[in-house]
């Protein structure tokens, strides 16, 4: 069993931006609370970076929701 090529891998989609805005948090504020750089939050929101489980749990905790409510696999590229 091997890994799929990067181009064929599913993207991790999320609704962080939506939940963050509802929680009245800026990227910088969320980044500080979860311990990353604010640009990393931007990359995650755009789906350009998939966070580790630890970071995903931290984000869920700050946004007071479950991981499943925030992240899901975008199977658009799945073949």
């Amino acid at each position: 069993m091997g890994r799929k090529p990067k181009s064929e891998e599913e993207r991790v989609a999320n609704r962080i931006e939506d939940l963050r805005t509802r929680a009245n948090l800026s990227r910088q504020e969320l980044a500080e609370q979860v311990g990353v750089h604010y640009q990393t939050i931007g990359y995650i929101e755009r789906g350009e970076y998939s966070p580790s489980l630890v970071l995903a749990l931290r984000i869920a905790s700050v946004l007071e929701t479950s991981i499943e409510e925030i992240f899901w696999l975008d199977e658009e590229n799945d073949v």
Partner: protein, 289 residues
């Protein structure tokens, strides 16, 4: 008394003055000042040697090497002072405090031996917007092309310049390498040279991936250089009068400079170059979505 013994004598006098009076009584526990004063203390025997031997310029014997007064004094000073210096630091309990001044990554960091940017400077860079022009796609591309063209042009020029006044371009070439190296580091916000304590998980992943790419490119460069050497040997074999076993590489000083700075520049810049290329690829694939 031979010249060598004379130099050792005034080195010992200088060290006695420094370690028995100047450092303990005047400098005390100010380790940064001690580091600077060590340069001055080293300068004393070098200055005495210059006064005594500048004109006559005799040869000094150090074990199996013949040296001039400058290098003999410097090396003898280093060899005699080093154990005294280490013992002094230990005896005065300054060991930890002294080396802390030169530590870039935090103590115990897995990157302690390699990081060339401190946590503070990386954190400052991550929030700095002054160099954002170098962080746009076109800025990054221009930097990548510019630095490679600069390195290859300088190398080719110095190789072909011969041992003439034109080889003075080496000074400009070296300056340009440091300028481009600085700009590349600003473009990637020092991330390629940062200890992991300064980075979050995404930046660590990006930095680590950059080193993989940098290693691959450097291995190509090393392989090309080794292949050129092999090709030269084979070519030499086909020349008239070749004995097929002995090869003579005639390197002038500008040629040595060309090879040294080609390798040095790529070793210095490759991690940042690799990071820029990865960022450009990522931005390109994000644009396609």
């Amino acid at each position: 008394m031979s010249n060598e013994l004379l130099v050792v004598f005034y080195i010992l006098l200088t060290l006695a003055f420094a370690y028995l009076w100047f450092y303990p009584k005047v400098v005390g526990e100010r380790v940064k000042l001690m580091a600077w004063m060590d340069v001055v203390v080293t300068g004393i025997p070098v200055a005495i040697s210059a006064l005594l031997f500048w004109e006559s310029d005799p040869t000094f014997r150090l074990l199996i090497f013949d040296l001039n007064w400058f290098f003999f004094t410097l090396l003898a000073m280093f060899a005699i002072e080093l154990p005294i210096f280490l013992l002094y630091l230990r005896a005065r309990g300054l060991n930890e405090k002294y080396w802390e001044e030169f530590r870039i990554a935090p103590k115990g960091s897995p990157d302690a031996a390699w990081a060339s940017a401190s946590v503070e400077s990386v954190e400052k860079q991550l929030n700095d917007t002054r160099w954002d022009g170098l962080r746009t796609a076109s800025g990054k591309r221009a930097l990548l092309w510019g630095s490679n063209i600069m390195i290859l042009f300088g190398t080719g020029y110095l190789w072909l310049a011969g041992d003439s006044g034109w080889a003075a371009y080496a000074l400009i070439h070296i300056l340009l390498i440091f300028v481009f190296g600085f700009l590349l580091r600003q473009s990637v916000r020092l991330v390629a040279d940062a200890p992991e304590e300064a980075l979050d998980e995404m930046l660590i992943q990006l930095r680590d991936r950059s080193y993989l790419v940098a290693y691959r490119w450097l291995s190509v460069l090393a392989f090309l250089a080794a292949s050129a050497l092999l090709a030269y040997s084979i070519f030499s074999d086909f020349q008239d009068g070749s004995d097929g076993f002995n090869y003579l590489l005639a390197f002038t000083w500008p040629k040595v400079q060309a090879v040294f700075w080609l390798i040095g520049a790529y070793v210095f810049m490759m991690p940042s170059m690799a990071m820029i290329s990865l960022e450009l690829k990522r931005e390109k694939s994000a644009g396609k979505r």
